[in-house]
Symmetry: C2
DNA sequence: TAAAAACTTATAAAACGAAAAAAGTTTTCA
DNA sequence: TGAAAACTTTTTTCGTTTTATAAGTTTTTA
């Protein structure tokens, strides 16, 4: 693999695991067994490296979402799988990563986050609309609001430690939310599919 | 009305409208046409006044919730009415109020907030349990998680300005959330009641 | 030639102090 | 007697300086 790509993948892992601030360019160089000069030959500055890390991660995510879509039988299955992966990924991210991004890379954050969030909302909206078209979701719901709310809900869930205090695992909380949410939007047909999926997962 | 009670009510209104920091003891005295000495005869210090304001507000809220419970035909009606009032009240609170509480009255905040939040969750939980007992809500849901999530959801909604950016009114967003949420927990019987309530509100 | 080390520079956090504002107290006066 | 004004004290804010750390650059060396 090309050295530049290797630097992106390695430093992304480090940023996600320890945060941005606490991973220095020296750390990255040492961890990869290269000199800082080599890194600076491929990236203008740390923020440039960080930006390329994030873009790389996004492209990975997009690929994964398309894979899931292809392998799912209906919108509900797609939603469950995507959400499960999203929450699993969220749990791996050190809170310092987002905190550092906001604090020390405010400009980059302001540039990337709104677009990223909007993409996520649009992704959810498209799935919901597909669900309505397939007779799985009710047609009397404001899908846009639903998409925004679900997005916010999952974000809040990972940020806060409400569930930790109550001895509830994030994954259980997440399952409950998604289940209530999809049932709340589902038609009779949708409810049947949900029950079928639940039974499958039990066994 | 007793002067002490009048001070509590007036200063609470001012705190909620403008925040805590920007309402000085001089402001309160001037607004009430009394001297600061009079205020300090009834309250040890500003934080004491603030604390009594909050407790007063809580007792009002409790009374209101009991009224709503009595006047409702079923749990769903109770939930809708309580939530509607809660959101209406939230909108009236200047964000500076909560910000000041956290920043300048951290100790008081740490003392009151967790208890307050827990009470709200328990209130929701009791309603959900009643709903299950009445055959309105499904019995296969983790009610505790549901209660926490709904609570958090409404809190997030008022804090963030997601909906403002999307030109969605807070009240519309709130209605969508509550509708999806209650439908997601409802049995067939519950769904029928929800539809009936919706029809009533249309006309 | 590229890693390692040594270096300079930029940034951020911490420490400090002055100034401002408001809490809390005392005095004045109607 | 209690409102209004004047006062002291405490707290917060704001600007400055110092210090430390890590970014970014250059030099050394294997």
């Amino acid at each position: 693999m090309e050295i530049k790509q290797r630097i992106i993948e390695e430093s992304f892992q480090m940023f996600v695991r320890f945060g941005i601030r606490s991973v220095t360019m020296d750390d990255i160089a040492k961890s990869m067994g290269v000199s800082k000069k080599t890194i600076y030959e491929h990236f203008e500055h740390k923020e440039d490296l960080l930006c390329q890390c994030i873009n790389y991660h996004k492209s990975l995510q997009d690929t994964r979402i398309n894979e899931i879509k292809k392998s799912s039988e209906n919108v509900l299955e797609t939603i469950y799988k995507i959400m499960y992966e999203a929450v699993s990924n969220m749990q791996k991210v050190n809170p310092a990563f987002l905190a550092d991004l906001r604090k020390y890379h405010y400009k980059l954050c302001e540039e990337l986050m709104p677009r990223h969030e909007q993409q996520q909302v649009e992704e959810a909206l498209a799935l919901f609309e597909q669900g309505v078209a397939d007779g799985i979701f009710r047609d009397d719901i404001d899908l846009k609001i639903a998409a925004i709310v679900l997005n916010k809900q999952l974000k809040t869930m990972s940020d806060e430690n409400v569930f930790v205090a109550e001895n509830i695992s994030v994954i259980d909380a997440f399952k409950t939310i998604i289940l209530i949410f999809t049932r709340g939007m589902a038609t009779t047909k949708g409810l049947e599919i949900i029950d079928r999926i639940l039974k499958q997962n039990e066994s």
